[in-house]
Symmetry: C2
Subunit: 334 residues, 2 copies
Amino acid sequence: MSLPSPYLLFIGDATDPLSIKMARSAADWSPEKCVGELRLPGCQVTTGCPAMSISEATQAGAKSLVLGFANSGGHLDPNWLPIVHEAIASGMDIISGLHDRLSAIPELVAAAEKFGVKLHDIRHPTQRLRTGKGYARPGKRLLTVGTDCSVGKMYTTLALSRELQRRQANVTFRATGQSGILVAGEGIAIDCVIADFIAGAVEQLAPANDADHWDLIEGQGSLFHPAFAGVSLGLLHGAQPDALIVCHALGRNSMRAIHGRPLPGLAETIELNLQMARVTNVNAKVIGIAVNTSAVDEEQAVTYCQDVEQQFGMPCVDPIRHGVARLADIIEKW
Amino acid sequence: MSLPSPYLLFIGDATDPLSIKMARSAADWSPEKCVGELRLPGCQVTTGCPAMSISEATQAGAKSLVLGFANSGGHLDPNWLPIVHEAIASGMDIISGLHDRLSAIPELVAAAEKFGVKLHDIRHPTQRLRTGKGYARPGKRLLTVGTDCSVGKMYTTLALSRELQRRQANVTFRATGQSGILVAGEGIAIDCVIADFIAGAVEQLAPANDADHWDLIEGQGSLFHPAFAGVSLGLLHGAQPDALIVCHALGRNSMRAIHGRPLPGLAETIELNLQMARVTNVNAKVIGIAVNTSAVDEEQAVTYCQDVEQQFGMPCVDPIRHGVARLADIIEKW
């Protein structure tokens, strides 16, 4: 997968910071690749990159327009098409993480051909997938799981990968969503594979490896989410994880996009993930807890994490506030 | 979905009776629509329909060739293409339940156009799908679940539907796999939707209904199957079932297509399905057990079912040997 950078991050008229995860991921994890962001009137969020028009971005060297938002269902809003056409006409490739394919829109395909640019539908797997088997395979694997969607699974996994790579450990980050794929340049968006192949796709994404090698696999969704638990379960079975990290967001009132449904507790999240993980790895362990504590102040965050540590007997950190060194220690000494 | 009948059931060189489920389903549940079966040398199984060549079937009035087998992964074997071309040239539509699309093979599309016939990829959903929500909806729903794949979930659900329709109950069979769709003429093959939409597709397939109406939803896979548990879980959440029937096949040594993995017990299957069902319906109940006892004799079958009844305190029947009247009684008196 070759995605020309630098990127202009298109965040539309988004009002929810969680909805521009793909743009923010690029800005946070590959800032050297991001030249600016393109906002529409009404937009209330930002990636932190300078605001730019398409012509300004072109002058600044932008090679691709990234559709940096996601809605539930991954549909392409027709209101965005004029921007996409303008970017194509300016010579930019288009990178999309939506379920709707750019390549299924004849006018975009024609425009891309006319201006000699490419349309990258990075959420759509291009390889031939197989069904899973669940047979034990060599190599070690870690998977982040969550109490909900958008609680920091990708962030935690990327932070842990960078930290362990810095320590020269033998690790690979495995992207399972469009944001992770944009950062890593490869991966399989597990929520976009045909349902029969969820577990099998993860077996292909994180195959047999050296005994001391770790695949650090980005988790998706939650076993408790009424829309996405199937994705989470297939990912858990396919990952065959030795180690799990449970991710959580403090102060969230209801599960992502589901009004009135409270998040599960940490204890039941740990218990259910271990129970289900044992289908393909009887030795799966939860090694730590990663919490997005941005809803509270520094002191409350520390108190919360200390309480959780005491209750569960394992490290609990906010990867942004406290870093992931203590989680990395466990993997390094495994 | 309009599928021209009568059908010629193509079962290739299959040797495993479970692999021709789609052909057998048509022969068992819509015998009036099946004119014959087409076998290749080496084929060791049968649907019970008379063997016919394509020209014999054409003379007997066959309107469609049904690709009546499935392999793990749903791939189209290139060895079958000459047969498909011959059927097209004889004026038959082609009905496929494979993951591989007939409509993605340009030579087949061209041949179909030339001879004025249609290619039906019935496993591929044609409607626009949404993500699930899990909000409580009116109407009653029953879902069959299993210890494994291919243990009689579709058979049990169809038998129950016919029995309750005979009693003039207000019920609808909801097909979730290609065989059920072939029998019912409609449905959504849940294992073939994009993973994000598993639960949502079931919410669309079995939507809000009259308070006394029952949707009888065909189950898929097993929560214990390392390849397909994600499909089963999304289906369970989307179905939001009031009633569950656990299906099992007696005497099977290992889970379908997974060497050396034993089937889970009935107790743990009941327990895990109830536990997971509660995410979208806290009142879900297991009302009975349906067992394929074909591996043992009549007396052993009766003894086994009596033992299970005693252990779990609910009816246990072999739908083929004993019928499903006792299960239908529970739904009728709900």
